[in-house]
Symmetry: C2
Subunit: 662 residues, 2 copies
């Protein structure tokens, strides 16, 4: 049921015209990329991509990622033309207008068929690697009958210049992701002009060096694209399909230039395109034959989906597969026992160690959890007995040695979470949250349940010094919308945070964990007290005059400070602020109880966190006191550093007394 | 004056023993890398690197960067043994102790001979690229007689897995930096174990694909290392010298394993190393012949420096070269006229446009300024008439087309600033500060004057939507120690911020600039009012009840709000908070004048910034009001977005009146 070449051309021209018209209408957007890749996308959609517009959430669909997200009109055109419910033509007319699902860049939360949010270059590619890993992993566990799809990505020169693509290419090559195909829009143009301004790289040779199959084609010749696609599919390695294209193809006056990249073509050039393509239909009007041809592109997928559905029903693993893909959490076997045991007998331990212990139980109980670390497995304590290595030889494993690729790891985690069937967690040092920050932000924006295990969370890591000591990191992460940042103070809180991270299915979590040992604070674990974000771990004995608000390793210090103050008759509460975001979500009654606000001068609030004081005024109020570190750290043993930076009762108590005027 | 092989071996063993002993003494650190690279480093130091321990700041010295910064004992041993004043042996004994210049990772501000701070992997490599660019640029301007040195980097597998190295490799290859040589410690080991756990890449082939010369050698065979070095020097391309080494070489029980990477070898293994190397000297004691051989390694450099000094004195450009390297700012010709003209006749314009105008004058006056953009030249407005392109064919240019490489750009800027002779500035969108955040942090830690031009600084960028709209970025950058974040409100403030960015020689600056046009606020430019960080742009007419604190594009909105309030009898100040850090540095008198703090309930403070409210309590106090955006943005025209998110007088005035109870 192959569509002939001239009709394919018409289909591609429909993308071109729709894209340039929508950009023109919005007077904003990027026509060049959709026009340049229209032929490749049309052939992909018509003959290769397996999808069903009537069932966008079909579990075994191929995943398609437009990594070059600025070319968003390409995917809007593809989804609309092939018959998805949305975007409607009205949505496309409202391209880039407030409320339209056709946003400036494709957003996974606005449209079915948009597998992930793209625009920050390179990340779509790297998320697609995560999706391809997820596919192979689930295939290994559930079999070809249930899981057998490909992952396709369109990437531009920008994606391939960004550092993250090196990490993603390396991971995909190492894991031999043969069902992963990248269509490179090889048009020699970036925003600044010719790619020759900034790069001289032989991109194909680079991919080959990482174990990829590389094939080239003329991106405007359907037969040649087909040959390349077939070769890519036949090859067992991940494939780079270098599609030589002309940006803005179809625009007689502007094609092949950066002028088509990021702005409307203008009325006269749009008329010239119409003449050039012999396209007589009005804006936002698609000829019936073209519509019919486009609608038929989903036929292969519908047939495939029907066959898959039949297989699913006969497959003994079918139900389990559907459940894991739906994201249902199984009963956490052994978990209550683990917490009870912690409460009865908890030794001093680092929260990273407590995290390892918690993960031991959780990964045994939750098969969807797939862990890893960016080459800090022994330091992040992320590996458990249940998580054997996921390798090219054994995709059924549940632990990824991500290598020294923090950004690639985080993006792959997003891809796995968005694919479904996996709850990814991955580790690095907290200071290197900066290395993957753009992906953490995308976890939050995309409502993706990625769980970041970030150890060595303060100067308490000691000798590695200022390059490795987080200062501004906790606060800078807490301000990312929709991200839960947890900093537990002992093993029980660590267990509680893991529980919360698992339960929050539509937002990412980040656990900041200590390198150094910490004492046990709690002796009960019936209620998840961390769930309210902050709670009182000590109530004033004498009349309350001070509330100490501390996190993680500083909670114990706060308790020590409270002891000293109480001995001097100063009633002191200690609050463990495990997660500011969850605390902010509590009702006012609870918040006012924990942080009383009747007469500021009567009760002094003091924050204690071994990081920047910036932002703590939200909880201490300006006439409160923030104990923190507003400079870079230093190299030395942890105890010497805590002493140097004033994290001792001797240094803190006098400051509090001075504020109280006693 | 070549030292014979057996004595070279002894010199290398001195590094090995010193490294393992220092790590043992500290019970913390990384012996494996210094022991593995001891032979390569010894040969480099003895026969290739041009340096003079008696004149560490000699302008034409070769630059040596230990990109694999965890192997810090290698550089401490090299500096000490070759005769630098510091580190002394006592410093080395105090490796990783508080106050020792031998910190966990090498810090440029602690020791001469440490050209940059390394540890965050990949960044040393990328900074070295910046140094190599600086060398070629200054060479083109001042000639071979004054500027003719090489840049050497030791990089490990971690450096070469990090995404940033892809960007750095691409830049170096494109710019044909033939005097840049990377010594790759090719030991097949990472922290997690064999590199085979996480990578299958042919690294040499990858570098070759980017236009590099690649040569391999046995990193424990001096003749073979020498052959490779000679070949690298002879080749006109940047060279990767792949040194096949054994990590922890010399340790009979642990060499070749990850066990040597990041912890002390232990007393018994240390004894075994001594026996194995036939090394009888006690810890921290170096045999006299070895000391003498090491001290002689600076001879070539001393001779070269003396010849250079003679050339300098005879060179008509010598004085200018010394001045630019010393960082002296020339008179800013035309600058006062420019500001005067702005004050007399300033049209509505975006601050990014105002920045372009300011740069036009400044780059003409300050030859040290070298600009660029990560492929957003036309959007960041960073290119001026004076800054012609810096290319492989013409290194004298002053504008770098960095390509889509934000992180590589920022690190290269750090390298240029640290090399000296260049004040680098570079542009991207503010949201992509996240992509280069680890390098911005290193600018600040290293006291490097890199100037970041970050445009499209809020939802005001409009249609590109949430992936491109900064929310948490301004505040998250303001909390990085030692970084100045400027958000000017009009063209005069933009000029003032540029002036301040230029004047602050030992800290980086970041200018957050609007995409959208803004009206002129000021009609005078005699005094740099931005220098105090915040100042009053409007003083209350009626009795003061409100202080509005706004930044950038929101200052005009604050003025509009003030107009409405005043019309209703509510006296309202408006403060432009151009740079919170500079404001915090003012004396209390000034701060209390701008933000009166007598009786909080009498004067309501309101912050207005189109970004997160997180942290604004520092200035508004908790019972103040923060107008901001605590969620991700949206795609739509800027005016629609400002309306949606409540940035209108209609939305703000009632909130203020409600707080005032009127």
């Amino acid at each position: 049921m192959t569509i002939d070449q001239s009709r394919l051309s018409q289909m591609a021209n429909a993308i071109r015209v729709l894209s340039m018209d929508a950009v023109q209408e919005a007077n904003s957007g990027h026509p060049g990329m959709p026009m340049g890749m229209a032929d490749v996308a049309t052939l992909l959609w018509s003959e290769y991509l397996v999808f069903d517009p009537a069932a966008p959430e079909w579990l075994d669909r191929d995943r398609f990622v437009l990594s070059a997200g600025h070319g968003s009109m390409l995917i809007y055109a593809l989804l609309h033309l092939s018959g998805y419910d949305r975007p409607t033509m009205e949505d496309i007319r409202n391209f880039r207008q407030l409320g339209s699902p056709c946003a400036g860049h494709p957003e996974n939360f606005l449209l079915d068929g948009v597998e992930c949010t793209t625009g920050p270059l390179g990340q779509g590619f790297a998320m697609a690697v995560g999706m391809a890993i997820a596919e192979r992993h689930l295939n290994a566990r559930f079999g070809d009958d249930l899981v057998d799809h490909r992952t396709w990505t369109i990437a531009g020169d920008g994606c391939l210049m960004e550092g993250i693509n090196h990490e993603a290419v390396g991971l995909a090559g190492h894991l031999e992701l043969g069902k992963f195909n990248v269509l490179w829009d090889d048009n020699n143009i970036t925003i600044d002009g010719s790619t020759a301004l900034s790069t001289s790289e032989d991109i194909g040779a680079r991919f080959a060096a990482a174990g990829w199959h590389v094939v080239r084609c003329d991106g405007h010749d359907f037969a040649d694209i087909r040959r390349a696609m077939d070769e890519a599919i036949a090859d067992e390695r991940p494939s780079l399909i270098a599609c030589k294209t002309i940006i803005g193809k179809g625009s007689p006056g502007k094609q092949g230039t950066a002028a088509t990249h990021g702005s409307a073509l203008g009325e006269s050039e749009i008329a010239a395109v119409r003449a050039n393509l012999d396209w007589t239909a009005a804006a936002f009007d698609i000829p019936p034959q073209v519509v019919a041809d486009w609608r038929s592109t989903g036929d292969r997928g519908r047939t495939a989906r029907e066959a898959w559905t039949a297989r699913l029903q006969g497959n003994p693993a079918g139900r389990a597969y559907e459940e894991i893909m739906r994201g249902a959490l199984p009963a956490l076997e052994g978990w209550e026992d683990y917490k009870t045991q912690l409460a009865s007998d908890m030794p001093r331990m680092a929260t990273r160690k407590a995290s390892e212990a918690a993960l031991g139980v959780l990964t045994a109980a939750v098969p969807a959890m797939v862990g890893g670390s960016a080459d800090l497995t022994g330091s992040n304590n992320t590996k458990t007995a249940a998580t054997t290595p996921l390798t090219a030889k054994d995709y059924s494993g549940r632990y990824l040695y991500y290598g020294i690729r923090e950004f690639g790891m985080a993006a792959a985690m997003n891809g796995m979470a968005l694919h479904g069937g996996i709850i990814p967690y991955g580790g690095t040092f907290l200071v290197f949250a900066d290395y993957c920050r753009p992906a953490i932000r995308l976890s939050a924006l995309q409502n993706a349940q990625a769980i970041y295990v970030m150890t060595h969370d303060s100067i308490g890591l000691g000798e590695d010094g200022p390059t490795h000591q987080p200062i501004e990191h906790l606060q800078s992460l807490r301000m990312i919308p929709n991200l839960l940042v947890f900093r537990p103070a002992d093993a029980i809180e660590t267990a509680e945070c893991w529980e919360l991270a698992l339960q929050n299915r539509s937002r990412p979590s980040l656990l900041a964990l200590s390198r150094q040992d910490l004492p046990a604070l709690r002796t009960e674990a019936q209620e998840n007290r961390s769930a309210r974000g902050a709670y009182r771990v000590r109530t004033a004995d004498a009349a309350r005059r001070v509330v100490l608000i501390a996190t993680g390793s500083e909670v114990q210090l706060a308790l020590d400070v409270a002891e000293v103050l109480e001995a001097q008759g100063v009633g002191t509460d200690v609050v463990s602020m495990v997660c500011t975001q969850l605390f902010d979500e509590q009702d006012k009654l609870y918040r006012d109880d924990i942080l009383p606000h009747v007469k500021p001068s009567d009760i002094l609030r003091v924050s204690i966190e071994a990081g920047t004081t910036f932002g703590w005024e939200r909880y201490t109020m300006v006439d409160g006191l923030s104990i923190g570190i507003d400079r870079f750290g230093a190299s030395g043993p942890a105890t010497a550093l805590f002493d140097k930076f004033g994290f001792t009762t001797e240094a803190i108590v006098p400051q509090i007394k001075a504020r109280l005027g006693i």
